[in-house]
């Protein structure tokens, strides 16, 4: 099954809900421009969770990336999309 950008974003929303303990007011308003730390208030543990959950969900491995390289949801979506190609 190929995974398109919309599907990746939707899966990331699920992970974000879980990473943030479901505390985000409106996950539906999350889009590619949403900033992970500034808008969603993700802590370093949340970011660790996001990266590990993403590895598990998409079957990819994050190589040579630091947590601070991902500023927005779109940055993560793009990275996943590249790894899945």
């Amino acid at each position: 099954m190929s995974v398109n950008k919309t599907e990746i974003t939707e899966k990331l929303k699920e992970i974000l809900l879980s990473a943030g303990d479901g505390s985000f007011e409106s996950i539906d308003s999350v889009n590619e421009q949403t900033r992970l730390q500034t808008d969603l208030g993700l802590t370093s543990v949340n970011m660790l969770y996001l990266i590990i959950a993403t590895e598990e969900e998409f079957g990819i491995r994050f190589d040579n990336v630091g947590m601070n390289e991902f500023k927005t949801v779109g940055d993560v979506v793009e990275y996943i999309g590249e790894r899945l190609q």
């Binding site: 919309t6 539906d28 590990i52 190589d63």
Partner: protein, 283 residues
């Protein structure tokens, strides 16, 4: 292993807490703490390029935080390498790069030096939490016309469905099992083709990889998949084709019960993609 702010000796594992994560190092002396990358403070992040193994004094390592020392239990003390070897391994690694926040970080480094095994308990704990999280996902879609019987698994169920005499019921059953295949792949990375199924005495189909429940009503199909027992029923008020995604519906026409039902997430499936409904119903 306990972490306590006690006097440390050469070869000890030490750590500081920065926000919600820890930074680790190998203590050699007050003037020599060997660590993989500087403590990830905002200031250090700005000035440090690619992290590498380096030695600093204790003040640079601590950056104003309380330093804790690993107090090993009996079994860990037996397993650990001699302190001299720990120091020697740490010193030999100075200059080494290849940092990776998940797979090769400061905690992997200290465990490699002390136990000869690169591990990161922080990452392992997070991974364990993710894999054991309660899952209860409900997928809802409009039943299309003329659903083919191709790609329905298990084969025995496909044969049963092919023998349903009513065309409407056969069409709905085919779609429900196709939706189940989609849900299994999306929520559990499971291909129904390779999943184990059996039919219980009462006629209910069960899967050995996850629990599921199917329901259809008024042209809509719903599938619940969970890592605990789950039951699903579409209620009377389910709306007809095309309106659900945008409709503000104050009632909950989907009844889900089971151990993980408090973690339920609803997905609208359309054109091969699913859209999370924010944990609420079609709002």
């Amino acid at each position: 292993m306990k972490w306590e702010p006690v006097q440390c000796r050469a070869g000890d594992m030490i750590r500081i807490r920065l926000g919600s994560l820890y930074h680790y190092g190998i203590f050699v002396s007050e003037d020599e703490v060997i660590q993989f990358g500087l403590p990830p403070t905002a200031e250090n992040r700005a000035k440090e390029g690619e992290p590498s193994v380096l030695a600093t004094d204790i003040d640079v390592f601590a950056c104003g935080c309380i330093v804790e020392t690993a107090v090993l239990d009996r079994s860990e003390s037996k397993r650990r390498l001699p302190a001299e070897e720990t120091v020697s391994r740490a010193r030999a690694a100075i200059g080494k790069g290849g940092y990776n926040i998940i797979h090769n970080n400061c905690e992997h480094f200290v465990n490699e030096c002390v136990f000869g095994e690169a591990r990161c308990l922080q990452a392992e704990d997070v991974r364990r939490r993710w894999l054991s999280r309660p899952i209860c996902d409900v997928y809802i879609a409009v039943i299309p016309e003329n659903v083919s019987g191709v790609g329905i698994f298990p084969e025995r169920r496909k044969a049963e469905i092919d023998n349903i005499s009513s065309p409407e019921e056969r069409n709905a059953a085919r779609f429900l099992w196709k939706l189940l295949g989609y849900a299994a792949g999306r929520s559990f990375n499971t291909d129904l083709k390779n999943a184990g199924f059996k039919r219980q005495l009462m006629g209910k189909w069960v899967c050995d990889s996850f629990s599921f429940s199917l329901s259809e009503r008024d042209g809509l199909a719903a599938v619940a998949v969970s890592n605990a027992d789950v039951s699903l029923r579409l209620g009377k008020d389910i709306r007809r084709k095309g309106v659900c995604r945008t409709l503000k519906n104050p009632r909950m026409p989907v009844e889900v019960s089971g151990k993980n039902s408090s973690a339920v997430k609803y997905f609208w499936v359309e054109d091969g993609s699913s859209f999370l409904m924010g944990g609420k119903y079609f709002e």
